[in-house]
């Protein structure tokens, strides 16, 4: 059932009167008084959605978009736990479309992934989803067809609990964070294939050596080491503010979406990262935020000043602004190339100071899957030990020695497995960066490069880093460091030698910000975990890629290569470790199930539908495969998925076997 304001908005859009605000659903309009339980947007047991082309305007510029019911973001769906909801989706596009209900525990044939759960919704066709709702919290929905999600095909969902909500609040606002580009996503991915780091406008430069800019703070020696590895310590995000406008509820920073409150109220902010490629770091200067829910599931309240929200995650926080003043909600892109901005205020028209962008973080050794020795990267983290790495001795020794073992609880920093070893020698003489003609003297160059290539041949990639002048002596691409089922080919430019559990890490660039930032280890499920069985099987899934070629895969194989699915027996309990062999973070999402994030709170592991795996790190989760059918499992960075970082999870036997 559409409510009256939404109907008006819809009508206005089709009546050609579409100003900016009429393209937004009522709850996303600036000056929103909030989404009160008594004022749903689209709710009930029968909902109709229509997917079509529209235009979208931000920053004074208008582009082509795909919207649902004429709005970006799509209408807020307010559902109720315990009910079965019928949602009729009509496709008015000239191409197939779909809606995936992100995080929903529903029968697989309603999950909305073309080619896995159903064939997709053809043009001019209506598909009726029947969703038995057996959970509550903040979720979202989006297209799983092509790259439609990037151009506006996403919206928020609130499911009200059947039992009283343990979270008390006086008012709630939904904050849908997203990234908008006027460049077509098909073009964006081609440009990424054409040139690595194409959208990075904050590279290390020579001028930066003298600028005092913290984002440039890396010595010549270390810069040379990175170029030797053919890696870029500033490659934080593939797509950046160079082409993105970061939106909050469909509003750009200048349009300043504003949510109202009365001083003293407890305001629940339901934050959804619906962006295609952007990890956000969210804070409200002047306000503590109490995280009460992650990915729709309640957690023990934890007070923070900032939290990182990876793509497709949701967090609910409670804020209690006591003063009669405005507060700025900052959602800064992880690479600090831009920010989304919104305002919480007692009255319309108010605004607060907007903090400047912070310096772009620089990747360090822990992002390469090596114990951080404080040497590389100016992140300058301390306190890491690599004691379990088997003596930290000579190169080539101790590869694959599994003596580390270590607790899987994730509570200590000990490496779970020794994936190589370190040898720190004093820095050799490194010449200044190859800029000079002298450094490239004639004939030797030819011979030298040939020799280098011949060396790389038999090893399949020349990743050997032995002999680096600066003192690292670790093979960054040793196939012995991954299980033999991993395809170590051109699509894999790095194998993390010693990936660490970094669930205690707040996120790139957040280690030294001087205030409390949420980490995965702070998340403790409010309810005890239902399935207390020990897993009967372990599975290692390697997140793999090649930054230079923009290839992304699981276990070294793109989905398009024709991969074997990940097969679970029904009700099987499996412990899965995801190892990130790349210097990018990957928000890994499984459909139809929650993952119990193994973060040191056994019995109360938080349930997540999307787990962000930091660069060069590993994350373990337990899963009970209790939802039969076929499910997608993929990186939720849309272009990583599109590049091949996708697989199907099967759960058998099914309820209904073939006749």
């Amino acid at each position: 059932m559409l409510n009256r304001r939404a109907v008006l908005a819809h009508g206005a859009a089709f009546g050609g009167l579409a100003g900016l605000s009429s393209m937004l659903p009522a709850w996303a309009r600036s000056g929103s008084r909030g989404v009160l339980p008594t004022l749903p947007t689209l709710s009930g047991r029968d909902i109709a959605l229509e997917i079509g082309h529209t235009s979208f305007t931000t920053g004074g510029r208008t582009g082509r978009a795909i919207s649902i019911n004429g709005t970006i973001p799509a209408p807020l769906l307010r559902l109720r736990e315990g009910e079965t909801c019928r949602i009729a989706v009509t496709n008015t596009l000239e191409e197939d479309t779909s809606i995936h209900w992100h995080g929903f525990l529903i029968p697989f044939q309603m999950d909305g992934v073309p080619g896995v759960s159903f064939p997709g919704i053809r043009p001019r066709e209506t598909f009726v989803y029947e969703l038995p709702i057996r959970q509550s919290g903040t979720f979202w929905y989006h297209s799983h067809s092509g790259l439609q999600e990037q151009v506006g095909h996403y919206g928020p969902i609130i499911i009200d609990p059947a039992t009283p909500d343990p979270v008390a609040y006086d008012r709630e606002h939904v904050l849908v964070l997203s990234d908008w580009s006027f460049m077509a996503p098909e073009q964006i991915i081609v440009q990424l294939k054409q040139e690595q780091g194409h959208f990075n406008r904050n590279n290390l430069t020579v001028a930066g050596l003298f600028s005092g800019d913290p984002a440039q703070n890396m010595s010549i020696e270390e810069r040379v080491k990175w170029t030797k590895m053919r890696m870029d310590p500033t490659d934080i995000s593939d797509v950046t503010g160079a082409i993105y406008t970061y939106l909050v509820n469909g509003h750009g920073p200048a349009e300043n979406w504003t949510g109202l409150f009365r001083p003293g109220e407890r305001v629940r902010l339901r934050v959804i990262n619906a962006s295609a490629m952007t990890v956000f770091q969210v804070r409200i200067p002047g306000l503590k935020m109490t995280v009460v829910s992650a990915d729709g599931e309640n957690v023990r309240p934890v007070a923070v000043d900032e939290f990182q929200i990876s793509v497709a995650e949701t967090y609910d926080v409670i804020v209690q602004p006591k003063e009669d003043r405005a507060y700025t909600v900052v959602s800064e892109a992880v690479d600090r190339s831009g920010m989304g901005r919104a305002t919480l205020a007692p009255r319309m028209g108010m605004s607060a100071a907007v903090p400047p962008l912070r310096p772009r973080p620089i990747l360090g050794m822990d992002d390469m899957g090596m114990p951080d020795m404080g040497g590389m990267g100016s992140g300058g983290t301390s306190g890491m030990n690599h004691g379990s790495a088997g003596g930290g001795s000579m190169a080539g020794m101790g590869h694959g020695a599994t003596g580390g073992g270590g607790s899987m609880s994730g509570m200590n920093q000990a490496a779970m497995r020794a994936r190589g070893s370190m040898s720190a020698t004093s820095g050799g003489a490194m010449r200044g960066g190859g800029g000079s003609m002298a450094g490239m003297s004639s004939g030797g160059m030819g011979a030298g490069s040939m020799a280098g290539m011949s060396g790389s041949g038999p090893k399949g990639g020349g990743g050997a880093m032995t002999g680096m002048g600066g003192g690292m002596d670790m093979n960054m691409r040793d196939p012995a460091n991954v299980p033999p089922n991993v395809e170590v080919g051109p699509g894999m430019d790095m194998i993390a030698p010693d990936p660490q559990d970094r669930t205690g890490h707040p996120g790139l660039g957040l280690k030294d910000v001087g205030h409390k930032v949420l980490t995965y280890r702070d998340l403790v499920s409010l309810k005890p975990n239902r399935d207390r069985r020990r897993p009967t099987r372990t599975l290692e899934i390697n997140l793999t890629g090649n930054m230079n070629r923009f290839m992304w895969s699981l276990d070294g194989r793109k989905f398009s290569d024709g991969v074997e699915p990940i097969r679970f027996a029904r009700n099987e309990r499996v412990r899965v470790t995801m190892v990130n062999n790349s210097m990018m973070q990957h928000p890994m999402h499984i459909h139809g199930h929650f993952m119990e994030l193994v973060n040191g709170h056994p019995g109360h592991h938080p349930l997540k539908h999307t787990i962000n795996v930091l660069p060069g790190s590993k994350v373990t989760f337990d899963i009970t495969a209790d939802n039969p059918g076929d499910w997608a499992f993929h990186c939720h960075l849309l272009l990583h998925m599109h590049a091949g970082m996708f697989n199907v999870v099967t759960v058998r036997p099914l309820d209904r076997e073939p006749a």
Binding site: F108, Q109, G115, V116, F118, P119, V190, Q194, E195, L204, V206, V224, K228, M229, R230, H399, G400, A401, T402, G406, S407, M408, M416, G434, G435, S442, G443, G446, A447, S449, A451, G452, M453, S454, G457, G462, A480, P483, P484, N485, E487, R534, R537, T538, E540, S553, K558, F559, S560, G562, V563, F568, E572, R575, G629, D630, H642, R652, R656, P658
Partner: protein
């Protein structure tokens, strides 16, 4: 002799790489291959590429890894002795239909949708046209021009790669003009093996060459090309070049570049002597208004070596020259 050695080196470098390319043919995934345990060294790893569905000797004991006692850390107790990931799925996981959605939708419709999905997640074809050097060369006596273009189309592994370069004097005749058509295959994360043909429209008489080369990124992030050319007249030559982008600022980029040409024999009619024939050192400073559009200025030094230099002197030219450059680098 030096040159010959280098040519031999090129060949030596190419052959293992060819072997590797065959070994790494990804057409046969190895879904069933299970890890008995972490292997201790590369040498101890089971052979790849032959196991197929785990039927080979490498599939090891299927029950290896079943014992979960080892992973005692489960409940946060620590003390795991060995890690045994990727034990096989229990038999129940293999029961039922291959594709669950086939129970709800026509299997033929689902098969088509699955194929679309497969192609959509990773099978993208991309392209690039790079005008690397399009420049005017100011040089004592004769100002000229040069182009150096590359374009490719294809997937992540296999591409069609076209290259063209040439030069000439303004108001004079075209000095050199060549086009290469290559099949380019990714054989390592950073290198493509390239094979195909090159045709020289100038100088006369025209020649056609078979080409075998490598192109990619060497450590220290130099863009490098190295190729062997075997002409229809039986001459073997080689060319190696490398360049590096040094970012002065986000937009101002200094690019040193080196190119060396080699020949296995004297080619008198082209003025090429055996060994290292010419060496070219360039320095270009470009300004990227956008990454796709970057005008530059530069300087280049070229020198003929050995017999090639003798040929040059004999034809009344100096063995070396300095040029000043104004040009454009652009891509789309």
């Amino acid at each position: 002799m030096t040159a010959l050695r280098i040519v031999l080196l090129t060949t030596a470098a190419t052959f293992p790489v060819l072997t590797l390319a065959q070994q790494m043919d990804p057409s046969m995934p190895m879904p069933g291959m299970e890890a008995p345990a972490k292997t201790v060294s590369t040498a101890a790893r089971p052979p790849r590429g032959k196991g197929g569905m785990g039927a080979g000797p490498s599939s090891a004991d299927p029950h290896a890894g079943h014992d979960m006692g080892d992973t005692g850390g489960m409940a946060g107790m620590g003390g795991a002795q060995r890690e045994m990931p990727n034990a096989p799925s229990p038999p129940a996981a293999l029961s039922g239909p291959a594709h669950a959605a086939d129970l709800f939708y026509a299997p033929s419709v689902m098969a088509a949708a699955r194929e679309d999905l497969r192609a959509e997640q990773g099978d993208l074809k991309a392209y690039r046209v790079l005008v690397d050097r399009l420049e005017t060369q100011f040089q004592r006596g004769r100002d000229g021009y040069r182009w150096d273009l590359q374009g490719w189309y294809g997937g992540d592994i296999d591409k069609l790669w076209i290259k063209s370069e040439g030069n000439g004097a303004y108001g004079g005749k075209l000095g050199r003009a060549e086009v290469q058509a290559l099949w380019s295959r990714a054989i390592t994360p950073w290198f493509d093996l390239q094979a195909g043909v090159r045709h020289d429209f100038r100088p006369n008489p025209q020649r056609t060459h078979a080409v075998l080369g490598l192109q990619g990124l060497v450590p220290y992030s130099y863009n490098t090309e190295a190729a062997l050319f075997l002409s229809n007249k039986g001459e073997l030559t080689a060319r190696v070049n490398a360049d590096y982008d040094l970012l002065i600022t986000q937009r101002l980029i200094l690019q040193p570049r080196v190119e060396a040409n080699f020949s296995a024999q004297n080619i008198r009619e082209l003025g090429i002597g055996s060994g290292l024939s010419t060496i070219e050192l360039g320095l270009r400073l470009r300004y990227e208004f956008i990454p796709e559009f970057a005008p530059y200025v530069g300087v280049e030094y070229e020198r003929s070596v050995g017999t090639t230099a003798s040929y040059a002197r004999a034809s009344g030219q100096g063995p070396d020259s300095v040029r000043y450059l104004v040009g454009l680098r652009s891509w789309f």
